[in-house]
């Protein structure tokens, strides 16, 4: 099915595309426009650091200018004497904090935590902070903080001779069959290295927060992909109960994985607010965002494919390396797509991490799967040329009918359908196989294909659904909406269950006082939260109908019905033989202010500790291969590039992607998410690269003029096609992950298209012009 944009019907502009055939916008699966859209477009949406607070003060960070060594001394005299300065924080006067539990739930060591460094392990590490009455005063005074260092040699990056081979990560090892032997014996062998550079999330809204203490109660306004996880971190830092910390994050201007944790600058603001007894705002500057938290780790992979002459894979030998920091551990799982995409009797994947002087890397859209796909999906394209088979055909010949690693059936895998639908819409059959065989004047034209996948990450959720006296409905959850559509799909879910228009549903998110929620990451939130809201709304409906049937003052009381129907906000009997009243009228007659239900999808015997762990760590997450099935979303990208033969510039001129995310809760929003991922993938393939000055171990293009992300002019029309079917094993309502999937496979599809256009195989991202001239 090709997805079409339908025209908005008059009077329904608020709802956007009113229907997608039979599905009403008010129901799950309808094309309701984002209900938070108008607030964002008009500027009415107030973001975390835009809160106006009485007595607000301003903190500015001072970061290290060396990559390794020790802070010898910090001279704060001039800064302290500067106008408006209230406090200068250094490691010497910082409040001793406790180390917090990490996101995996690992108990912390009993050591003091200080986010300001004495021992410097990367350039751009926080060393001091200045708090002043105005932001400008704090900026001016921050420049007066004089730091003296004893500099030590730094390990700059993966190619530094001092870096070595790194540390093996045994948990990443995957082996079956006799991979090395089978590779050596294979008639066709290819083996190449694929590299990706440091990449950054670059959200439009930079990071920052406002921290305010009242006694031992801390309120933090901060953009967050995980309110309860971050609240736990703040609580543990300060040794106060979890309930004493309130995180508020009503809107998020892009996260892409970077806003799921409380970082060191958050501790700085919260400590300053405590020491001053005044609220403190700390806005991380754009250049500082490049080192205040981690982007995607630089990666290197070697992919060896052994195959028969007909292109059938006999063995895959994969070795990966990603960089991590000197004292932190980030593993970017480079074998994640390698092990599930193709059927092979022999397989080996191992991974090392290498410590270098960088901020500890972090999550960036599809961590692991994204660089992993660049390796395997480039390699299979190389194999296709080696054996002279169409790149699409070779993928079908090696189609994995079950999970080759887990040896379990797929819950659903519409990848074959994705290849077929994408190829048809793209016109793949008209492709001429030879490199440099398609051109338009100076433009060499290339067509490339690549597949992508992302596992279904499942967890438990909870929600409160309230039916109010006026018949409207409230949904509450401490989950968030960073543009992906949580507000909208939860309204649709509640509306469908309760039989009310979506306009009558108010969704409240982004406050840790609401019903708890786990992390918004790994494409899990929509599946988790639609399930929780569905359950809570069903419980509320049961209460409503129960009261309507049994309450002595109910107009239905005399009917002695077993059940009642709620539709369009009105209640009636299924046979239509009794009264019909609105929800508001019923509540009035039975004297109820509201009906409230809390629903959660936790196992029935869950303890309080289980719940706390589920919402504040990822320790309770269910593996995607749990039980009888292996669960993933899938996609196939078909991409046309135009490469200027003289200049080496690459322009993406056409994208057709077919994707299997199972059932779509709202196709309009899912399409937007897929397209967003594809757009980000185009930037990753062609533009994005943190450039390291090797003498200083420092990223020098730390701003949005020099760290290039794709602009509108770089993006052609993108056609996305949904090939998913409801997957009951993946979520309550049948959806699989959406947000991470779109980017996976875009970079190799572009690299493959560039090879088809030019005959040059670029195995190092990004594909900039000097690699092609």
């Amino acid at each position: 099915m090709t997805v079409h944009e339908l025209r908005t019907r008059p009077g329904e502009s608020k709802r956007g595309d009113a229907s997608d055939g039979a599905v009403l916008a008010d129901q799950v699966g309808g094309r309701l426009s984002r209900i938070d859209g108008p607030a964002k477009i008009t500027g009415a949406a107030k973001y975390a650091v835009e809160q106006q607070l009485e007595g607000l003060t301003h903190a500015v960070l001072v970061q290290s200018t060396i990559a390794a060594g020790r802070v010898r001394s910090i001279d704060t005299a001039a800064a302290e004497a500067a106008p408006g300065v209230l406090l200068v924080l250094t490691p010497d006067n910082f409040l001793p904090l406790k180390t917090a539990t990490d996101w995996l739930g690992t108990p912390p060591p009993d050591v003091t935590y200080c986010p300001l460094a004495r021992d410097v392990t990367f350039s751009g590490q926080h060393v001091a902070a200045v708090i002043a009455e105005s932001f400008e005063q704090a900026v001016a005074a921050a420049a007066l903080v004089k730091i003296a260092y004893d500099e030590a040699p730094a390990i700059v990056d993966l190619s530094d001779p001092k870096a070595g081979d790194g540390i093996p990560v045994d948990a990443m090892t995957k082996e079956w069959g006799e991979a090395e032997t089978a590779f050596a014996a294979a008639p066709v062998r290819i083996c190449n290295a694929y590299n990706t550079p440091r990449e950054y999330q670059a959200p439009m809204e930079p990071h920052g927060l406002i921290a305010k203490w009242q006694g031992d109660q801390l309120t933090v306004w901060e953009p967050s992909q995980w309110l309860d996880g971050m609240a736990r971190t703040y609580a543990e830092w300060f040794g106060v109960p979890f309930e004493n910390v309130r995180l508020v994050s009503p809107y998020i201007g892009g996260g892409f994985g970077s806003k799921a944790f409380a970082y060191g600058y958050g501790a700085v603001a919260a400590v300053a607010a405590k020491m001053l007894g005044q609220p403190v705002k700390l806005a991380v500057s754009r250049p500082q965002t490049f080192t205040a938290y981690g982007g995607r780790a630089a990666t290197r992979q070697t992919v060896a494919l052994g195959a028969n002459a007909d292109g059938q894979i006999q063995s895959i030998v994969h070795r990966g390396v990603n960089e991590t920091s000197v004292d932190g551990m980030w593993v970017e799982p480079l074998g994640s797509v390698t092990s599930v995409m193709y059927a092979t009797p022999n397989f080996s994947s191992r991974q090392n991490v290498v410590r270098v002087n960088t901020v500890v890397p972090g999550a960036l859209r599809a961590p692991g799967e994204n660089p992993s796909a660049f390796g395997i999906e480039s390699a299979i394209d190389e194999l296709a040329y080696e054996v002279g088979i169409d790149p699409l055909e070779i993928r079908l010949r090696n189609y994995a009918e079950q999970d080759p690693e887990a040896k379990k059936p797929w819950s659903t895998r519409q990848l074959r359908e994705a290849f077929a639908a994408g190829a048809e819409a793209f016109g793949w059959s008209k492709r001429t196989p030879e490199p440099r065989s398609m051109r338009d004047g100076n433009q060499l034209i290339g067509w490339g294909v690549a597949a992508g996948t992302y596992p279904v990450r499942r967890a438990y959720g909870e929600a409160v659904v309230r039916i109010l006296a006026d018949g409207s409905v409230e949904v509450e959850s401490s989950s968030i909406d960073m543009g992906q559509g949580t507000y909208t799909i939860l309204a649709q879910t509640a509306a469908e269950v309760l039989g009310v228009p979506a306009d009558n549903v108010v969704v409240k998110l982004g406050d840790s006082r609401y019903a708890r929620a786990g992390v918004t990451g790994g494409s899990r939130l929509a599946g988790v939260m639609t399930g929780a809201v569905h359950k809570a709304a069903t419980a509320a409906l049961d209460q409503l109908v129960g009261l309507a049937i049994s309450d002595p003052n109910s107009p239905f009381q005399a009917l002695q019905a077993n059940t009642l129907v709620v539709a369009g906000g009105r209640i009636s009997s299924p046979r239509g033989d009794g009264p019909e009243v609105s929800i508001a009228e019923l509540l009035r007659s039975i004297g109820r202010e509201h009906i409230e239900a809390k629903g959660d999808t936790m196992p029935a015997n869950s303890t309080v500790e289980d719940r706390y762990k589920n919402y504040t760590t990822i320790a309770m997450a269910l593996p995607h291969t749990e039980g009888d099935y292996s669960r993933h979303s899938w996609c196939a990208h078909f991409i046309e590039v135009r490469v200027d033969e003289d200049f080496g510039t690459v322009r993406v001129s056409r994208v057709v992607s077919a994707l299997d995310s199972g059932r779509l809760y709202n196709p309009k929003l899912a399409e937007s998410q897929w397209k967003g991922g594809i757009i980000m993938g185009i930037g990753q393939a062609l533009l994005e690269e943190g450039m390291v000055d090797r003498r200083h171990g420092r990223i020098v293009n730390n701003n949005l003029a020099d760290y290039l992300i794709a602009t509108n002019a770089d993006i052609p029309d993108i056609e996305v096609i949904s090939v998913g079917i409801p997957d009951p094993h993946s979520s309550v309502l049948g959806g699989k992950g959406v947000g991470e999937l779109g980017i996976v496979g875009v970079a190799p599809a572009i690299a493959n298209a560039v090879f088809h256009a030019t005959g040059k195989r670029v195995r190092d991202l990004p594909i900039t012009l000097e690699k092609l001239i």
Binding site: T65, E136, D646, F647, G648, R695, A710, L769
Partner: protein, 327 residues
């Protein structure tokens, strides 16, 4: 950003007097000044606002040429019908520069005063050594990340690329910078770094750009600005070329040729050797390609920017050939 005094100049003379004081800087569109103040590169004591001065934003075009007031916004000049028809390279250079928002703010005078995008120049706290910022302190760029640095006109003191587009077109067509009564050829207005990279423009304290003028020419009328970069918009040139051609009556033989390069040199770079080599020649692709190699005579790379030496002649050749096609 350090505190500064704000002064609103009442007249051009008052602005020049105020700007002559030590630590004073003129404020027009502000797109460079505020950016560099936030980076800590410039720390003015006084900012002299000239944005409201009357009569400095006019665009006048006649048969002798164009005169553009210093306060005319980039977007207005780019969109001006007579600039588009008589100086297409100027219009094209402007609309391919920066972003729409910046073009709506930035002025023509301020554009000429745009500073380099060298990342070492722009980050004083991490890279104290910069001969442009503090003469004699050294050059942090040499030996560093040099992908965007210049291959022409460099010195041991500085390899920073002149980043702009407009001035490349202006240099090609012999434009004049008006500093009140004094006039300077654009080519002379931009200075090579040599041993004094801190001096970028031939402008003295107390002087102010009031206008630029571009003489009319047949070459300017048949001209183009070709900008090559990885990102389709909002990126500085990897290499660019402003080219104008005048043909003999046969429509094939080159009577006059103007070529200037951007993105590869320490100043807007007139490529006279290419112009001379092709004068009197019939426009043939291979001849043009060979002659275009002269554009990078004497080029010196610093590793990662070597591609510019390959790229720039190809950009020049494409631009010349494109102008030939329209003959």
């Amino acid at each position: 950003m350090r505190d500064f005094s704000y002064l609103r100049a009442g007249s051009v003379d008052a602005a020049r007097q105020a700007a002559a004081l030590p630590g004073a800087m003129l404020l027009a569109g502000g797109t460079t000044l505020i950016d560099l103040a936030k980076c800590g590169v410039i720390e003015p004591d006084t900012v002299v606002d000239i944005t409201h001065l009357k009569g400095l934003d006019t665009i006048a075009v006649d048969d002798r040429g164009a005169t553009i007031g210093a306060l005319a916004r980039m977007s207005r000049v780019a969109d001006h019908a007579d600039i588009k028809s008589r100086f297409p390279a100027v219009s094209e250079a402007l609309w391919q520069a920066a972003s729409a928002q910046l073009r709506n703010m930035a002025t023509i005078g301020g554009n000429l005063m745009q500073r380099t995008r060298c990342p070492y120049f722009r980050d004083p706290s991490n890279f104290p050594a910069c001969n442009k910022r503090s003469p004699g302190s050294g050059c942090s760029a040499i030996g560093g990340v040099t992908r965007s640095h210049a291959v022409l006109g460099t010195s041991e003191a500085c390899i920073a690329t002149y980043p702009g587009d407009l001035a490349v077109a202006l240099v090609a067509f012999d434009a004049i910078v008006h500093l009140g009564d004094r006039q300077v050829a654009v080519d002379d207005f931009f200075l090579l770094p040599g041993s004094t990279p801190e001096r970028e423009h031939a402008i003295e304290p107390g002087e102010m750009i009031t206008a630029i003028s571009i003489p009319a020419s047949a070459a300017a009328r048949r001209s183009t600005y070709l900008k090559v970069r990885d990102r389709q918009s909002y990126e500085f040139a990897a290499a660019s070329a402003a080219v104008g051609i005048e043909f003999e009556a046969d429509g094939r033989t080159i009577r006059g040729l103007r070529v200037a390069l951007g993105g590869v040199a320490t100043k807007p770079w007139r490529a006279r050797a290419v112009e001379e080599a092709l004068k009197g020649k019939v426009l043939e692709p291979e001849v043009v390609r060979q002659a275009s190699l002269l554009a990078v005579e004497g080029a010196v790379d610093h590793g990662a920017n070597h591609y510019k030496i390959e790229l720039a002649p190809r950009v020049v050749a494409r631009a010349i050939l494109k102008m030939g096609e329209t003959a």
